[in-house]
Structure formats: structure tokens, C-alpha cells
Symmetry: C2
Subunit: 503 residues, 2 copies
């Protein structure tokens, strides 16, 4: 048996967790239990499931103090950040409860039998149904919101699928505490035993992805780990969907007019956006295109970074990788060092770094994502230079533009180009701080993600559902939402969208 250890990134001290790596047999048992829970979960009503999600939210709230303090020592993130993240996580569960009650996510459609130009057509009814146990790989940088109780777990459960989480190696104790809070709340609520499972250790994660009971994988992490999991999936007898949120540079562009109008506000916002949570956010702006009149803005950023104190990175791997990428950006990406990141005295701590490059020199090497508090400032002479440089930057989760209203027609071609390579376009703001809402889109063209779905917001549900149609089915076989007399969800009936009348 291998015992899992954890590390306090603020000091580098090892934390003995007492948690053992999950054996292959235990993984198989956990997956089998989830498969047993699946049909039971499916049989419950949406109202029951909304109650379950709320019970899970309450269960997390009850252990708030313990969860935040455990995460504090395992992640080095600040208390306010962790408290805010837990609030977001709880809010997310409750938002999914609302969405489940609303039922619009079912995409219910009823086509009554009738004449068609090709003769009589049968009665066809269709809605989305759950797919089975979901493997969720927690991330390092969001110990709550993208980990055990995070968005993948919440959306998979909301869609009526059991969940098995692979705990991230950076925060096993936080993972266990969150798991236990949810498991206990689920048991009290009366949910089936296999509703939620957890496995620890890299090997257990690989075994889980290969398990025949697993119907899909939700993953937030690096492109390299994502590729390893994809290889396992491709070797499966039956392939399953892999929903990976992988890599994102999040380009940000400031026009000369925007610099003239509000350089100080942009400097403040940009600094906060690339250094918040020590730059370890998937939507951190990794490259900012600044015009030639931005010298004062650049000087302000440099001053802030130079004066900054060191913040802990999440773990030693990220800490080491950060240094290597910074070196590559300078050597291969031809970036000049404006502020050298400095390691702190203890643990995996670091101050922010700023690099600079001429926009015309931007290549794929300049576009490498550095996970941590680093930004590349690409100085440009014209928006044509920006548009040209953007071709070297892979698609991202987000793209951001700061401009002035009078530039609308000037920047239109740039915005059209940015839309092709992003899942969310931000105007005059910053890409970090992803709002959890009905319309949020967190996902973009490859390699930002590998899907056409979102991993944040209500539409994240869609990843763990598939369409099923019933032809000429007797009423008793149909899900309640597809019966003629039911009016509790929005439905498209004979081509006409109708609203729910009994909420």
C-alpha cells in the first residue's frame, strides 16, 4: 500500500495524510457501486434530485470552517479566496438544482403522429437522458469549484449520473473532507450508496478511466495529462466522451485609445488578473498586446511586480515547471525580461514576473502557457500586427479587448478573428472571475477544450446527457416529462415551443 502525502506549499513541509492509494480492486468496486446506483438515481424525480443538490450544498456549508482551513494548508491559496471559492461551489450546486427543476435542459420534444409529405409519420418523443457513472478529475487550482464538489460533479449529478472523483494529488485531505461532507449529506438525504465515490493516486485514476462502467470523463488540467487519459480512452473497447479543459493563453488586447482613456484602471485590473491566485487560473491573461503609447502602463505593472511579496504556488511541480517555461519564453520566445520572478525564502513561493516581446516577433514559442504569475507584454505598432500575431496563438477559453466606443468599426475585424479562437469574448474587463450563470461558456476550440460544450454554467449539464427517442410508446413507458398531460417543463410540441405552466 502506498500512503498519499501532501505538502504545504507555503513552507514545503510534508503533511502525512494517512490516506492510502486506491487499489485496482477498490477502483473496480467503486465503479461497480456507481453502476448499481445509476438506475436507482434515474428513477428518482427531478424534484428529488434538486433536493439532493441542495442537501449537498448544505452539507458543504456546514463544514465550511474545516474545509477552508484544510485547503489553506494544502494549496497556499488565501483564506478569502478559498472562502469565496466555497461560496461559489455551494451556489453552483443550488443553481443546478434550479435548472433541474426548470427542466429546460431536457430539451423535450414531442412530434405527434400525423401526415407528412412522405406519408403518415409515427409519434416521436425525444429528450436528454443521463449516460452513467462519470469520472471526474479534480484540478490543482480550484480545490472546491473544480474538484470533488466542483462543476463537473455538480453537473453530472444534476443530470442524474453517479460520480467517481479522482482526488487531485495536491490536496488529498481537502478532497477527502469535501467528499465526506457530500457523502454524509447524500446518505442522510437517502441517496443510493454508489452515488458518489472517490479514488486516490495516479494509477487509480488511470484504472478508473479504463473501467467499463465509466460513461464519460470530466477533466480540468494540463494538456499532457489530458493526452495520457485520451490514450487510455482510445484503448477502451468502447470509446467514451472525454471533456477536457486543457490549456489556455487568454490573449488580451488594449487599443491605443483605451490606453489614452484609462491606463491606470487597465494597469490595476490587468495586474490583479494575472497575479490573483498566484496566476494559477485557467483564464489568466498570459499575453497582453499593448500599443506604443502604453509605456506608463507598462511601467506601472513593472513597479507593482517589483514591489510584490512572494506568493505560494500550488505544488512543487507547478513551481519547477514555471521556471522552465519562463526560461523557454526568453530563449525560444525571444521575450525580454522586465521583471524577473523571485523565489521566496520558504516553500514554493514566488513573486510575479513580466516579459516583453515585439508583437511582430510573437511565435508559437511565445504563446506557451505559463501556469503562475507571469505575463508576456507584446508591444505593437498597429492592429494589423496584432491580427498577424494572433495567428500564432492557439485557441483559448477567452479573448479580451479594451477599446473605446468610437473604435467599433476599426476593431470589428479583430473581434471577428478573436471569436474564431475563443469560447468567451470579454470587453473592457478581465477574463478571470468566471461568472457562474445560465449563459456562461467555459470552453473553446482545441486545445482550450476538446468539446463544443461548457464546463461552467448551467449548460455544463449537456456533457453528461444523450438524446433518446421513443416511437409510438405507450404513456406508461414514457418519462413523465414526455407525457401529453404533463406541463412542468418547456417542450417543443409539433414544432412549437411551449413554456412550462406548472413549475
Amino acid at each position: 500500500m502506498t500512503t498519499i502525502t501532501s505538502t504545504d506549499p507555503r513552507t514545503g513541509a510534508t503533511i502525512d495524510t494517512g490516506i492510502e492509494a486506491t487499489s485496482d480492486e477498490q477502483v473496480a468496486t467503486t465503479a461497480a457501486l456507481a453502476a448499481v446506483a445509476f438506475p436507482e438515481l434515474r428513477r428518482h424525480s427531478r424534484q428529488w434530485r434538486a433536493g439532493l443538490l441542495r442537501a449537498l450544498a448544505d452539507g458543504l456549508e456546514e463544514r465550511r470552517a474545516e474545509l477552508v482551513s484544510t485547503a489553506l494548508s494544502e494549496t497556499g491559496l488565501t483564506s478569502p479566496r478559498l472562502a469565496g471559492e466555497l461560496s461559489r461551489t455551494v451556489f453552483q450546486l443550488r443553481l443546478f438544482a434550479t435548472a433541474v427543476l426548470d427542466g429546460g435542459y431536457l430539451e423535450a420534444i414531442i412530434d405527434h403522429a400525423g401526415e407528412t409529405p412522405m406519408g403518415p409519420g409515427p409519434d416521436v418523443r425525444r429528450m436528454l437522458v443521463p449516460i452513467g457513472p462519470i469520472a471526474v478529475f479534480g484540478s490543482s487550482n480550484f480545490p472546491f469549484a473544480f474538484s470533488v464538489p466542483g462543476g463537473d460533479t455538480a453537473s453530472a449529478l444534476a443530470a442524474a449520473n453517479p460520480v467517481i472523483v479522482k482526488a487531485h494529488s495536491s490536496h488529498p485531505l481537502t478532497s477527502r473532507a469535501a467528499f465526506e461532507a457530500m457523502r454524509d449529506a447524500a446518505a442522510t438525504y437517502g441517496a443510493p450508496h454508489g452515488l458518489l465515490g472517490i479514488v486516490y493516486g495516479q494509477r487509480a485514476g488511470a484504472t478508473l478511466v479504463a473501467d467499463a462502467h465509466v460513461a464519460a470523463v470530466g477533466f480540468t488540467g494540463s494538456l499532457s495529462t489530458g493526452r495520457i487519459l485520451l490514450d487510455i480512452i482510445e484503448a477502451r473497447e468502447r470509446p467514451i466522451p472525454f471533456y477536457g479543459e486543457l490549456s489556455s493563453l487568454n490573449p488580451l488586447i488594449v487599443t491605443a485609445a483605451a490606453v489614452d482613456a484609462r491606463a491606470a484602471a487597465i494597469a490595476e485590473g490587468l495586474y490583479t488578473s494575472f497575479t490573483g491566485s498566484a496566476g494559477q487560473l485557467c483564464t489568466k491573461p498570459g499575453i497582453a498586446f499593448l500599443p506604443q503609447n502604453a509605456d506608463w502602463l507598462v511601467a506601472t505593472l513593472v513597479e507593482r511586480a517589483t514591489d510584490a511579496t512572494a506568493q505560494p504556488l500550488l505544488n512543487e511541480r507547478i513551481f519547477r515547471s514555471f521556471g522552465e517555461i519562463r526560461t523557454r519564453l526568453v530563449e525560444e520566445g525571444r521575450a525580454r525580461v522586465l521583471v524577473e520572478p523571485r523565489a521566496g525564502a520558504d516553500g514554493f513561493t514566488l513573486t510575479p514576473g513580466i516579459l516583453e516581446v515585439d508583437a511582430i516577433d510573437v511565435t508559437e514559442a511565445t504563446a506557451e502557457e505559463a501556469f503562475g504569475p507571469l505575463i508576456v507584454l507584446a508591444r505593437y505598432n498597429s492592429l494589423d500586427e496584432v491580427r498577424s500575431a494572433m495567428q500564432a496563438i492557439p485557441p483559448s477559453l477567452t479573448a479580451t479587448v479594451h477599446s473605446q466606443p468610437e473604435e467599433a468599426s476599426t476593431i470589428a475585424p479583430l473581434i471577428e478573428q478573436l471569436q474564431e479562437g475563443a469560447g468567451r469574448i470579454v470587453f473592457d474587463g478581465f477574463p478571470t472571475g468566471v461568472r457562474v450563470s445560465w449563459g456562461q461558456q467555459h470552453g473553446g476550440p482545441w486545445p482550450a477544450t476538446n468539446t463544443a460544450h461548457s464546463s461552467v454554467g448551467v449548460t455544463a449539464l449537456r456533457r453528461f446527457l444523450r438524446p433518446l427517442a421513443w416511437q409510438d410508446a405507450p404513456e406508461s413507458v414514457l418519462p413523465i416529462e414526455l407525457r401529453d398531460s404533463y406541463t412542468g417543463v418547456p417542450r417543443r410540441v409539433d414544432g412549437i415551443l411551449t413554456l412550462a405552466t406548472t413549475p
Copy 2:
């Protein structure tokens, strides 16, 4: 230059088409033209696009006689079948026009800026947008409805994506005639030149899938060809979605009570379903589970098949493969021959075949799909035997049950099991004759298809769209459908679904 030939399957006679295989350079040019057309297509309104789809439908109708007669000599399908298929194809284009005008497929969501439990949230607006040029691989068995003017083409265009079709090698002249009808109609309508392209030859198809401009592939065909295309996609620098409709056995189950109640009607329907279009339909029932009291039903099927005259298969490859699979089903699948398929005097013609097996002997070898007029009758003693045998049958597009109303609770577990392995469950009917409608679902768990989307019906649109969000965007940047004052499409605004008020 290689000249493409075609064959009349009724006689085996070679048809000189005068069409040359598309060179790599021509493929690249065609893809580049599509990429140029894409932004122009995106700029047009939904109203314009609905008009385009209707113009394409009219263009096909105008050349109905030529299209049907060309397909007749290249496919050996009957005139009524081809005429019906063309009607379906034209109807499909018009249905997509209606869906485009409706705008519900955009899944428009508006979250206004406002307070959230985590502080002030930005304005977030999201809808689905097109993804770029789509490569469509026409099928052998539907020269219209799943080929050049078929469902993939119609849904990709409806979603505002240019289309490049790889003509199926079985019907190049039909492909060219349909392409020209649509191309001319599009030109008259004023569509951009690169809206529609066509390539001929196996190599051209592979080159097309590898082309960097291509954003997704729609494919209807064999699992083996599908795998070859998937390998090309995996070797691309950036992976793209592959929407493959690959393989389907379409199990059908008849209960003893249903046999007692309506053996003659079931025999008639089942015979038509497995022999129609010479059994070359993706939803053909390939295996039918019949109880012990079905001897008269079986004898009726045997009599019909024995008396049948030979019908042409689509091409020599299908003809040869059919014979090989029949041999494997007997030798490895342990099936007994009730009616041996007999080759006709000319061309690739064949009479229907019927095999029989005990349900308890059904294995994966018995579950091989035979594309052509062949059915395996699996005789069972109890529904438990059926449920057990179903575990050897891979997921399918459809599953069908014939039962009596009083059996509802007896068959409930069977239906639950069938739902896990199918995209559409048919009650007391037959899976062939897929209705084109809003709620149709044509797709199932792997290997039926490799996606969670449909390739028939209005929701087929979803495959060629991706979500995009705008954060705090000025009104002028937003698509018209996301502007506050617009009410022409259904939208979810601040969590509340609202209907369109100005159609």
C-alpha cells in the same frame, strides 16, 4: 488522372462517368474557397439562410426526373423508393429552413449584469455559432437523403457552415447531378461561391479530412471506413469532431402475447422492414427475438423469402461482403439457414435470406451486421433469455419491442435495458422509415454512432455549432439575436425562458 467509373448493379455493366478523381491541389483549393465563404455566410441573416435552403430544395425539385433516373441506374433502388427519398430530402431542407427561422436552435441565453452571492457579475450572453467548413461523406444506400443534398449537408448549411461533399464511389453521376442542381440554385440565390464543394475519389476524401480548413466531418458508412477517417483526424495538428453513423444491428423483440394477438401483421411488417431497399438501411432489424409460439410467423417469413425475386444490392463490395458475413454467421454465429439467399442471373442481385439461432446461443459473432436482405431469428423460451442475449449485442440506433398492453410491467426491465443501448425505442412498429421531424433521434451509443447528437431531424444542427459567450459586449458587437430589444427567437433571460414574439 484517374477517371471515376460507376456500375449499374442491376446488370453489372460499367458506366463511364467522365468524372476525374479530384487531385490534392483541387481539394486544397475547394477547402480554401469554403474557408473564404464562411465569414460571408456568417454575416447573412437567418432569414437569408432560410431562403437559401428553400432555394436549394426548389433547385432539386426542378431536376427531379434527371436525379431519379440517374440514381436508378447507379443504385438499383426502385423508382418509387428514389422518388420518395428525394421528397424526403427536399422536405428536410425546408424543415431546416423553418428551424432556422424559429431560432430556438441558437440556444440564446442572456444573463444581465447583477449582484450574485459572490459579488457583482458581468453581463454574459451566449448562443451557438457555426464552426467552419464541414466535410460530408455521402453514403451508398441513400443517394439523396444521406449524400450530396442529404441531412448532413442540410444541417451544416442551416447552421451557416460551408460544405464540401465527398461523393460516394457508388453513385458519382447522381452526386454530380445533385451537386450541380444545388450549386446552380445557390448561385442564382446569390450565395458565396465556396458555399458548396464536391470531391471525388478515396484519396481526395482522405486529403479533405486532413485539410486544416475543415472544422468537422459528417460521415455515414461502415465502421471500418469510419476508423480510417478517425485515424486521419487523430493525426491532425488540431483534432476536429467526427460525427460518424457507423454500424447498427437494431434488435427487435416480439413477446408471446404479441404473437398470439397479431402474428400476421408482425410477419408482414417484419418482412418489409428487413427486405425493403434490399435490406440496405441503417435501421434494418438485423436480429429478431421470437418466442416458441412463433412457428407460424417464422413459416410465413420463410415462405415470403423463398418466393421472392432477386433485388440488386448497391455495389459489388456490399454484394461480396454480404456473402462473407452470411458465412460467418453460420459458421461462427452458430445460426441455422432457414432460407439461403440466392444470387440472381445479372448484376449484384440477391433474394432475401433468413437464419435462425437459439437465443441462448447468441454471441458477439451472431451480432454481426449484414448489410443486405438478411435477418437472424433468435428463438427464445423466456424474456430472461432475451435480456441475457442482449448483452452480446452492441448498442444500436434503434431497439424495437412488440408486446401487448397487459404486459407493461413484465417488459419494463427489458425496456430499461434496451434504452441503455439504443438511440430510439420503437413500440409495436418497425425501425425502418425514420421520420424526419423536430424530435427524431438517429444516433446511439458507440458503435451505433460516436456522438451524443442526432444525424436526422432538427437537432442534427447541433453537431455543427459551438457555444460562444460575450461578456459586457457593446450592443453593436452582439449578434442581433442577443440584443436586448430583439424578440425574434426564444431566449433564456436571467434564467427565465421567453418565447419569440416577432416570428
